[in-house]
Amino acid sequence: MKPSNPSFRDWMDAHVEAYLDGDLAVDERADFEHGLAAGSDWEAELFLAGQIRDGLRALPRPACPPRVTEAVLAQVRREVHATWKDQFRNRLQQQLGALWQPALAMTVLLLLVVSAALIGRPAQPQDTFAEAQVQQALVEVQWALGYLSEVSRETGKVVRDEVIADRVVSPVQQALTARSHRSNDMQP
C-alpha cells in the first residue's frame, strides 16, 4: 500500500499511539516508519501523541481529603459497636431463653417449700401466763358455758313445745282417744 493511499493514511492515523508505545509488530513498524518518512505531517502527529502520553502521565494525583477516610472509619466504628451490642443482646436472649424454664421451676418449688413450712408448723404454746389473764379466761369460759347452757335450754324447750308436742304427743293422744272410743262402741 502506498503512503498516498487514503486507507494507508487511516491505517497510519490508527497506529500512531501503538507505534509510540512500541506495540506494533516488526512488519507493521516498518510500514509505519515508511509512512513517517513519506510525509512530514506524521511527525507532528507523533509529537502530539507523545505530548499527550507524557501530559497524561504528568497529571497531578489528587490526594483524598482526610474527611473522607475519617467519615468511613467513623462509620465502620459505629457499625462494629452496633454489631457488638447486637451480638451481646442476642447471646443474652439465647442464654435467658434457655434458662427461664428451669429458673421458674426452681422458684415455684421454693415457694411451695416455704409455704408448707409456714402452714404446717404447730402453734407454739406460751410458757407462762399472768394471774389476771387466767382469771379473765375463767370468767370468759364461765360466760361462754352459761350462754351455751341457756341456748341449749331454750332450744330444748322449743323442740319440746313445737316439735315433739305438736308432731308426736298430739297425734299419739288422738290415736289413743280414738281407740278407746272404738272399744267402748264394740261392747254389748
Binding site: D13, A14, H15, V16, E17, A18, D21, D23, E45, L48, A49, Q51, I52, R53, G55, L56, R57, A58, L59, P60, R61, P62, A63, C64, P65, R67, V68, T69, A71, V72, L73, Q75, V76, R77, E79, V80, H81, W84
Partner: protein, 179 residues
C-alpha cells in the same frame, strides 16, 4: 469488642490508607468533580468494609478500581445536567495552589494539562477509564484487563483508540489557538 474484631478494623484502616488516593484520583479524573469524587470514594471504601471477607488481598486493587469505575458510571448517569462551568478546572485537579505567577513553561504545561483534562472529560467509555487507568494510575495492561473484564488485546487497542481521540480533540484546540 473482641481482639479479632479489633485486628480486622486495623487491617481495614490499613487498606483505606493504602488505596484512598487511587480511588479518589480515578473518581476525580472520571467525574471532573471533587465533591462527587469524595462521595464515590466514601461509598467505595464502605463497600470494601461490607465485602471485607469476600476479597483476597491480591485482587483487592482490581476489585476497588472496578467498583470505583462502576460507581462513577452510576454517578454520571445520575447527574442530570453536567456542570457546564466548573469552578475552575485547574482548581478541580489541584493545579492552582499558590499565588505566585507561573513561569512561562510551567504555565504552558498547566495550560496543556487543562486542555488534556477537558478532552479526557469528553471521550466515551470505556476509553476514558482505560486511559485513566493506564496513563494516570499506571496500571499494567493485565490489571486493566482484570478491572474492566476485557481481553488484553482489546485493552491495548482501546487505549490507543482513546489516546487517538484525545489527539484529535487537542489537535483541533491547538489548531484553533494557533489560528
Amino acid at each position: 469488642m473482641s481482639f479479632l474484631e479489633s485486628r480486622v478494623q486495623q487491617r481495614f484502616a490499613g487498606y483505606v490508607r493504602k488505596y484512598q488516593h487511587r480511588i479518589y484520583g480515578f473518581a476525580v479524573y472520571f467525574l471532573g468533580d471533587r465533591t462527587e469524587a469524595e462521595d464515590v470514594a466514601q461509598d467505595v471504601l464502605l463497600r470494601l468494609w461490607q465485602h471485607r471477607d469476600d476479597i483476597e488481598e491480591e485482587r483487592l486493587l482490581g476489585w476497588l478500581l472496578r467498583v470505583t469505575r462502576n460507581a462513577c458510571v452510576d454517578a454520571l448517569r445520575r447527574r442530570k445536567v453536567k456542570h457546564a462551568v466548573m469552578t475552575s478546572d485547574a482548581d478541580v485537579y489541584g493545579l492552582a495552589e499558590g499565588t505566585e505567577p507561573y513561569p512561562d513553561s510551567y504555565a504552558e504545561a498547566v495550560d496543556f494539562q487543562e486542555h488534556l483534562r477537558r478532552a479526557l472529560d469528553r471521550i466515551a467509555e470505556p476509553y476514558r477509564s482505560i486511559v485513566i487507568l493506564r496513563e494516570v494510575q499506571e496500571l499494567k495492561y493485565e490489571e486493566i484487563s482484570g478491572v474492566l473484564n476485557l481481553p488484553l488485546n482489546t485493552v491495548k487497542v482501546y487505549l490507543h483508540r482513546g489516546r487517538k481521540m484525545l489527539r484529535e480533540q487537542l489537535s483541533e484546540v491547538l489548531h484553533r489557538e494557533t489560528v
